[in-house]
């Protein structure tokens, strides 16, 4: 039993950490997100060259063949740098769904494009009314020759403005909230009938609402499989986002600790006040507990445990990361005092990213109820 990274994983970790350290300080990051696309194409190409974009893909597809641990180490380091490039949206979500869907030449070529950085992708799963339910789909697909036509709206689609291709969940049959009848479709991002409204989110990402008016699409799976594929994607992305959140929490705790050691008030460092010390012990413990749960979850995936056990770990992780993120983020602002309220300091930016992660794919309250269902049934 050990929690050591392999030599390869350690190199991967170091390589991401070095990038953040050398090329992605807060100032550089602010320049990147001020971009029209919300990230830097140059950085993206660098990620491709460094092989990061190939991590989750099978070697047969030209990928690195990495597992949950590899994704974790990358995401954790990206989190520390608050990296805005759409790694989760394009590589893990879009690429992940492609990899999980049926093999064909187009799919393989697209994955190749993701790996070499030439293709950006997005996944449109949410709708205005759907909140945290993947099966709450109103967008409809109708067969049209060999393909389909999509009609409806999709909400807050990550990376949609830069995407070349978008995977869309749409209903072939059934009513809103039916678990059956949902399939996934591939559409060209510039195809006729798509209109996009670009929006910024508080973590400086660019997302878009989509209107689909008779948009031509090809099916990636049957109507019985769409929801299952989305759930599988959700599970993987939750783990990845939790790793990112862990990196953020580490950074926030370290920044706050450093501030409390140096900031003086009434003649002494505020870190000498016992009440603050005990609260920093609490945030330290919250971080360590998240780390443990992340390791537990990643190990259970790597060892191929029963899916029920994996799901239980993933849900627990999402709950704890959501709550710890609020605790750590809140204390980071509070202990920084007036400075913590300013947008000039990086603290508020990290906190906003944690809040966005909490809401992504179901917040702590929601997932805790799902956790209880899984856990108390067993």
């Amino acid at each position: 039993m050990n929690f050591d990274f392999s030599e390869e994983q350690q190199m991967l970790k170091d390589s991401v950490a070095r990038f953040v350290q050398d090329e992605y300080d807060f100032e550089a990051r602010n320049k990147v997100v001020a971009n029209e696309s919300g990230y830097s194409q140059e950085n993206w190409q660098k990620f491709a060259e460094l092989g990061w974009l190939s991590i989750p893909f099978a070697e047969a597809l030209g990928g690195f063949g990495g597992g949950a641990t590899d994704t974790m180490v990358v995401m954790e380091e990206l989190g520390k740098g608050l990296v805005a490039e759409p790694f989760a949206a394009s590589v893990l979500m879009f690429g992940g769904l492609l990899q999980a869907s049926a093999q064909n030449d187009e799919r393989d070529a697209l994955i190749g494009g993701v790996i070499d950085g030439s293709i950006q992708g997005a996944v449109a799963y949410a709708e205005a009314q759907s909140r945290f339910e993947l099966q709450d789909v109103l967008c409809r697909a109708e067969a049209d020759g060999e393909g389909y036509r999509l009609n409806g709206e999709k909400s807050l689609v990550l990376n949609a403005m830069s995407a070349d291709k978008i995977i869309v969940s749409a209903r072939v049959s059934g009513e809103q909230n039916d678990e059956q009848g949902i399939a996934l479709f591939l559409v060209d991002a510039k195809v006729e009938g798509i209109s996009k409204t670009a929006l910024r989110t508080m973590d400086a990402q660019l997302v878009a609402n989509l209107k689909l008016d008779n948009v031509a699409a090809t099916a990636l799976c049957g109507a019985g499989e769409g929801l299952g594929l989305l759930k599988q994607m959700r599970q993987q992305v939750i783990v990845a986002l939790s790793a990112e959140a862990l990196g953020i929490m580490e950074k926030l705790n370290a920044t706050t600790l450093e501030y409390c050691k140096t900031r003086k008030q009434f003649g002494v460092a505020i870190g000498s006040f016992q009440a603050l010390q005990h609260r920093m012990v609490d945030t330290f413990m919250a971080y360590e507990q998240c780390k443990s749960l992340l390791y537990r979850t990643v190990c259970s995936i790597e060892q191929g445990e029963d899916n029920n056990d994996i799901e239980k770990n993933v849900l627990a992780l999402k709950v704890m990361v959501g709550k710890a993120g609020k605790l750590i983020g809140g204390e980071a602002i509070q202990l920084h005092g007036g400075m913590g309220m300013t947008d000039e300091l990086d603290v508020g930016h990290y906190v906003r990213r944690l809040l966005t992660i909490n809401a992504a794919f179901g917040d702590a309250d929601y997932q805790q109820q799902r956790f209880a269902e899984v856990s108390l049934a067993s």
């Binding site: 949410a126 205005a128 009314q129 909140r131 945290f132 339910e133 099966q135 709450d136 709206e153 909400s155 807050l156 809103q176 909230n177 409204t197 929006l199 910024r200 989110t201 508080m202 973590d203 997302v207 609402n209 900031r263 008030q265 009434f266 006040f273 009440a275 603050l276 609020k326 809140g330 602002i333 509070q334 005092g337 007036g338 913590g340 309220m341 300013t342 947008d343 000039e344 508020g348 906190v351 906003r352 809040l355 966005t356 909490n358 809401a359 992504a360 917040d363 309250d365 929601y366 805790q368 109820q369």
Partner: protein
Amino acid sequence: MDINFSEAELAFRDEVRAFLKEAWSGELAEKAKQPGSYKEVQVGWERKLNEKGWAAPLWPVEYGGAGWTPTQSYIYESERAAVGAPDVSPFGLKMVGPVIYSFGNDEQKQRFLPRILNADDWWCQGYSEPGAGSDLASLKCKAERDGDHYVINGAKIWTTYAQHADWMFCLVRTDSDCKPQQGISFILIDMNSPGITVRPIVTIDSEHHLNEVIFDEVRVPVENLIGEENKGWTYAKSLLAHERTAIAGVADSKRHLSELKKLAAAEVNGGRAMIDDPAFRQRISDIEIELMALEYTELRVLASMSKGNGPGVESSLLKLKGTEIQQSIQELKLDLAGHFGAVVQDGITAEELGHGYGDAARRGFMFSRAATIYGGSDEVQKNITAKFVLGL
């Protein structure tokens, strides 16, 4: 124990309601919904109040006050918040006004007080300095006498709405060779004076509420000094005793909570309204129960003050609990908005976006973090309570 209002108080409540119905309606209430309308709405609202004689009801009647009892003040505040009308901007009416009528000379009173009452001047507060935090006594911004003027050099920070301000009331150091609390003077500075730079500070809600104000050889006439030189700390401290009751924000929190319930009835997850979600119900009832209690904590303080007593030990928790409740409501609203809580709704209508309150929830949540930092942080409040209430 009697929580009934007297006949006279009930009649006053009717008068308040009638006033609010007329004054907080139409153009002004509509304008308040538009972004960027803050100053215009405040000024319009405060002038309506002034017309009614209610701009500064707690000032002495001779200076334009309304002679309200604490209970009347409570009634007004409750009714105001219930209809969603804004509180007045505190800097003129609640902060510098009382200092001027208490410590200013007749000329100053005549010059400034009527303009404060009518919102003719917008005021800002110059207390905090870069690097000083809650430790006001360490202030460094310097005023040196040069003939009929003081020459000001230094900087102030966290200055709310300095970008709108015509005047700043400011603490400056006029003597460095004494104990830190001494040697401080209270002075009024015309914000149009040459040498003043207002640097915006954007906060984590991505808005511009705050500023740093830099003084470079700014000349201020000596007649703008309030009271005696080097006694400014005493005047500033006397401010703290004013306006304790509204600090809990109970009336506003009640309205926000009731709005939150309505939003939760409309927000649906998987076919079930969020108001029927067990976790949501628990969190909202946690808040509601604390707020029901705090409303009576405030009434207990008020009852004590109505009898001419000090506000009592209960008052020390008004800010601590009040801000905790405010933040909890904002947090719940943010969570209720789901993914839409992250969206910066920049010029896009709710209809286009597909959601109505996510952007407001985000801004409200992020800015609410300041409530436990400004005006004496939670930590300082607890230290004070431990020392003066618990005797530790």
